[in-house]
Assembly symmetry: C2
Homo-oligomer: 428 residues x 2
């Protein structure tokens, strides 16, 4: 796949800086120029910190080469706390909120030499009510949500890497709509400390990038583990289960074509490819995510809903909060148990296959900016706590991007990225 | 059990206020008088908000009777955010931290009519380095930790209810040492939003009170579920498994005596009582808690350890943080999987029994204020995500309190409290 943005990846830029061919300040200026060009239409940033980024770049240039993200400009979904930089959750309740501390993921990024270029637009409290961000491929279409700004900023080449979060489908789906790589890790591995919590059972940090190697690089930083290159060449042809889901009727034009194209190319390249279904009770996982996120979300937002209810959108008030207030303890706990049982069973699915290949979104990004699309092909995998990656590279009937989703076994995130790299090499 | 503090429980005080026999302001003044008397020695409060509490009480009195905690003064462990009131985590890094928002549990408390009397002393970031709090029964002894101030404040009668948190044994053990009721709920039910996160897999909110009915009352508020009275009388004599743990050699004088006394009394009252062991791999859960909390904790504290390392105590730097930096991803995930597997297996334990009865602490509170005791009898149950309650009422050879721990099946917290009430009625 050729990258339409022509902007350097994080890996390439970090290598150029390490080789003395580029300074961190050069890189920041390059991306700021791109922001100046694209942001008026894309509107991916809730807050841009050009001066802070330049200052950080100068300090890094003065200090000499350091961590694996040395000099790389980054975007953070605006539910992630950044010391000294506004963090508003796309809610008027937090219009004046400037944290004194970084979230865990921001601190780990800075320690690795990363530069906070800005905060990216989120749906209100990472729920549904969207911000102004447009899809970089068509300004009349949604970028997806709730990590709208992070997906769009990376797709528009305004940052090489950005962080999002997923409680239902908020990382994987926007990546498909925007034509970038999206990654949601195994639940729990990347700390949520300092990121606005709504559902402790589901909330997971995710990464946007324009290459899988960049995702692997950033994942190592965020998990504070040893950086590893993706050994695409050393991965044997994988065993692939193609999962067509019980919700195929909700898929739009182009989505199954993309899935079949990847599956066929993988088969030709030697992968063992076969359709794979899941036990019937897995079909209830989407509903489980709805009830778990509602029960926990309505309680997590207790302060906001109790003392600033009139400044919460109807989308949230009449959606997740009302659902959460209506949900009984019995329904909540039954759904938690279902999700847990399915997690254990899903581990065993990987006895026969290496990855599950499925839809990342219902198809192309829908027209309009008031809705961010459905998480119907994502929510179950959030409940399953498994690593997922969106591989871009296909287009639908309107020329808009469509990605496919690759799902791995829990706690084998790096291996999933390696297999995804193999798949991308042979199929995209 | 007679209550040595002679202070009203939350349930009694709320009833008196509802009946017009007492105002919220009267109640606040009563508890403030108790604070004036006991706090100089006990030092349970990191921050007392006497004026704020009086103001809230006047507003409640003016508004008329409202929620189930109407007028009840409350203490919050100082890792729980309180709008407008300092929240310092017992760390100099946060000396000036005043949140703009309440944590979920604080907002739910206020909506129910509860009054924030103050913040209670925590160990640094709810880890090990203790604050100045003394045991209300002997100022030369630790109250336990990390929820030191909440346990001590309730034990000294300075508040009827206080919140703590447990990542290893930080709620149940201090309750035993201080002679009060402690409750840790099923993981996930009470939102951690706005409470300082260290381990997403383990961190759980807990309640201190001087009666089980008070715990049931507050739990309903914090889970935003319908208040229920404890139907002690309607509970049939339970089936009790007495769990003597693989760590009996670490128990001090008085602990097994308390356990046996409760078990014998229950048996005499008609309960089916038998020793119960757990599969051998459950013995590794204490280590699992150590590694999971270390891996996640070192990452959750990324900002503090990276930018303020010199202001972190050696206890934390050379303990959990160093452990977490040394722990590999493989060790971390293997321990997460062990805990998950044990959770599922532990559910089945309750096919034969209604509750597990075990030690709440190694015995009496140790002498000295530099250590808060060991979580050896608690950590496994934190990993198991099960509801646990400390029942006070026994004393050791030095006349210090010793509680027993009652453990229930996941997601049946209210039922656990009902059975505990039966047990308390017949045995204490």
């Amino acid at each position: 796949m050729t990258d339409p943005t022509k902007m350097p990846t994080a890996t390439a830029a970090a290598a150029a800086i390490a080789a003395g061919k580029l300074t961190a300040l050069d890189l920041v200026e390059t991306f700021l120029a791109r922001v100046a060009e694209r942001e008026p239409v894309v509107q991916a940033f809730a807050e841009l910190d050009a001066d802070g980024a330049r200052e950080a770049a100068r300090a890094l240039d003065a200090a000499g080469h350091g961590g694996p993200l040395h000099g790389i400009p980054l975007g953070f979904k605006d539910i992630i706390a950044t010391a000294g930089l506004a963090t508003r959750y796309n809610s008027p309740i937090y219009a004046d909120n400037v944290p004194q501390q970084d979230a865990s993921v921001v601190a780990l990024s800075r320690v690795a030499g990363g530069i906070v270029l800005g905060k990216t637009v989120t749906c209100e409290f990472a729920n549904r009510a969207p911000g102004p961000t447009t899809n970089p491929h068509d300004k009349a279409r949604t970028p997806g949500g709730s990590s709208s700004g992070s997906a769009a900023a990376v797709a528009a080449g305004m940052v090489p890497l950005a962080l999002g979060t997923q409680t239902s489908g908020s990382v994987i789906r926007p990546a498909s709509f925007c034509g970038v790589h999206g990654f949601k890790g195994s639940w729990g591995e990347i700390s949520y400390a300092g990121t606005k919590l709504t559902s402790g059972t589901l909330d997971t940090i995710g990464i946007y990038a324009r290459s899988l190697q960049d995702i692997a690089l950033y994942r190592a930083v965020l998990t504070d583990t040893r950086p590893m290159n993706l050994q695409r060449g050393n991965v044997p042809a994988p065993r692939i289960g193609v999962y067509r889901t019980p919700f195929a009727s909700q898929a739009g034009p182009g989505s199954f074509e993309a899935l079949d194209a990847v599956a066929n190319a993988a088969s030709k390249a030697g992968a063992l490819v076969a359709d794979r279904s899941l036990p019937a009770h897995f079909g209830a996982l989407n509903d489980a995510v709805r009830w778990i996120s509602a029960w926990e979300g309505a309680r997590s937002l207790a302060w906001e809903k109790s003392f600033h209810r009139d400044r919460i959108s109807p989308d949230l008030r009449l959606g997740r909060i009302q659902d959460g207030e209506a949900c009984t303890h019995e329904v909540y706990t039954a759904n938690c148990r279902l999700a847990e049982r399915c997690r254990l069973e899903f581990d065993a699915v990987f006895d026969d296959i290496d990855i599950l290949l499925t839809l990342a979104s219902p198809g192309e990004a829908p027209l309009g900016l008031k809705e961010t699309g459905t998480a119907v092909f994502n929510a179950a995998f959030t409940a399953l706590h498994v690593p997922c990656v969106t591989l871009p590279g296909h287009t639908g009937p309107n020329g808009m991007p469509i990605g496919v989703q690759v799902v791995g076994k829990r706690s084998t995130d790096h291996r999933l990225l390696e297999i995804a790299a193999w798949l991308e090499h042979v199929a995209l």
